[in-house]
Symmetry: C2
Subunit: 358 residues, 2 copies
């Protein structure tokens, strides 16, 4: 059977003041009336129903997961006591799924992406699932790049060698590249044969566990301590406490030799900042995206406005700004400098009493 | 005796959302811990004590005047039932003062100006008071212009002909000019002999009443209806209802032939917009004026920030903006387009339910 594994551990510091310590990005309604994590589950549709989805998140957010995704079983919600990056997250999910179903195939998805063409997305996943199941490979979903983005990792692949002739075929991976500088990113686009690393993976639970045994013995040995019939809360806690912090890209994908990539185009966006939210939002003729009522726009363009609606908000003569107002905070940010929102959060963390606003 | 007559009828639409219908600019603490009208009375110091000040304001604000200026006598607070510009305001104050003291000299002051050099201000007024009292002229205070401002009226005067050799001398007025265009304003500065019309006047009550008799017979005839020993609330109401709306500049000063101007330099500012408030405020090394705590400034310059302090406010990468937050409203405005704040207020007035935010 196929299972969804939704990684929902992010803290969303780039989305202050909407995302706060007690409610990070994946649990927010940034688009319409469903939260990001709800949209992630919805998007799987018939391919993987909600009751076959597992969510890995910080232990503080398990209540939010239960509230927002009531169809998910309690033992399919893993609460991480500490953040250890994606490798321990995926290892624990694989070990639990394999106990549940020795033939489990896992579709690993971040909880906070947006995808425009959901039908193509599901068709790509279906193809990845059958490839991973039949060839016992580690399949990663690569996104056809349309600009020299420096914010993503890239995957180089062998465009010639696909074993199948299907519409969505997997190809051998030649290498992974960290976030490149602009010059390098431009050359990747010119050369071709490079894809964005989307952070979405498909594999059999036994395949990825075997890869952990080979390439991450430290994590593997922690998993081996789970000897009882079921895994207890304190065993999970101890596993995370003892695991090193390592990403699955670095810890597994760059080491393993049975890695494939499936190139895809389905309008993918990792919603990394207020800029991305603005880009994805519906806009009026002046390029303004207004998320609430009680807003007056006077001679202002290309701005994003999300407010509580409890006071009247007026923009006069401004351009290219994000205005985000909540009960706790108000952000006014140049849409070209949205990355610096995380500096604000970091400054508040350092300041005495700054926590109150996070 | 000398009396202050403080004109406090303004609605402060350029100061939304701080100034609301129930609390316009003159009743706000825009600078430090005293309101504009309190600062206006304070500034008179020993020259005119609070108990010799009269305030003319909208009838809805008489409670605010009593609260903010408890030293002012009840019969020295005139509540206007409708706004009729400055001529009826000054006529009613003059008529009431003259009943109180046939030799009254009036110092007429707007309630919402800022003056940097208060000592010089008082010394200018003292000189204007003795001139107005001795020569029975209508004395207006003119400000030496330091830039080709298009937002003020100008007074042309005869720089040669002063009757006195005092430090602050009054000169004959040659003419009044409406707000000029930029070219004209520049030529005024080049020529010399032009002053800004500050809207501050000094005269004997009997002199200005005589001028009303001559030049504003319609207003004068309404005043003549006050025949009883004291003037009742309903007589004042009827007076305002019946008076035409006319400014004292147009209705009296431009008509009368006994007008003098006293040129002055005391750091005058009519605080006409958020820009002026920003200009007058204390700023940090980046040119930011921050009126509250709980503000994080990240790479932002030359901005004015006034907030409730109840939420954390962060500016990231913005420049030259006013951010003004209250319980009812939030304004984000380019500091070079502050005049358009009044358009926002006008739009809200027209919109159904918009009143809620004013």
């Amino acid at each position: 059977m196929t299972y969804g594994v939704i990684m929902a551990g992010g803290q969303g510091t780039r989305f202050w003041p909407r995302s706060l310590a007690n409610r990070p990005k994946q649990f927010l309604k940034l688009f319409g009336d469903r939260t990001m994590i709800q949209m992630t589950v919805d998007r799987l549709g018939q391919l993987i129903p909600e009751e076959r989805c597992m969510v890995v998140t910080n232990v503080d957010y398990t209540g939010l997961v239960r509230d927002q995704l009531p169809g998910i079983k309690d033992d399919f919600i893993i609460g991480e006591p500490v953040a250890r990056n994606t490798a321990p997250c995926i290892a624990s999910a694989a070990a639990l799924l394999q106990r549940h179903d020795p033939d489990a195939v896992m579709v690993v998805l971040p909880a906070d992406h947006r995808i425009a063409d959901e039908e193509t997305f599901r068709s790509v996943l279906a193809s990845a699932i059958s490839t991973a199941n039949e060839e016992k490979t580690l399949v990663t979903i690569g996104i056809e790049p349309d600009r020299p983005e420096t914010g993503y990792g890239y995957i180089r692949y062998n465009q010639e060698k696909s074993r199948s002739r299907k519409e969505h075929s997997a190809f051998p991976v030649l290498g992974f590249t960290e976030k490149p500088d602009r010059e390098k990113a431009i050359s990747f686009l010119d050369q071709g044969g490079y894809l964005w690393n989307s952070g979405m993976f498909v594999w059999r639970a036994d395949s990825i566990l075997e890869a952990f045994r080979k390439h991450q013995p430290e994590i593997w040995s922690e998993l081996e301590k789970w000897t009882g019939e079921s895994v207890t809360r304190s065993e999970i806690d101890r596993f995370y406490q003892n695991c090193p912090s390592v990403s699955v890209d670095y810890g597994i994908m760059e080491q393993a030799d049975n890695v494939q990539v499936l190139p895809a185009e389905f309008g993918w966006n990792d919603v990394g900042s207020w800029r991305a939210v603005y880009d994805l939002a519906e806009k009026d003729a002046d390029g303004n995206a207004v998320m609430n009522t009680n807003v007056t726009i006077q001679e202002s363009q290309n701005s994003y406005i999300s407010t509580t609606g409890k006071r009247h908000v007026a923009l006069v003569g401004v351009e290219n700004v994000a205005v985000v107002e909540t009960e706790k905070g108000l952000l006014i940010c140049d849409l070209d400098r949205v990355q610096e929102v995380k500096e604000v959060v970091e400054r508040l963390r350092r300041e005495e009493g700054g926590d109150e606003w996070l």
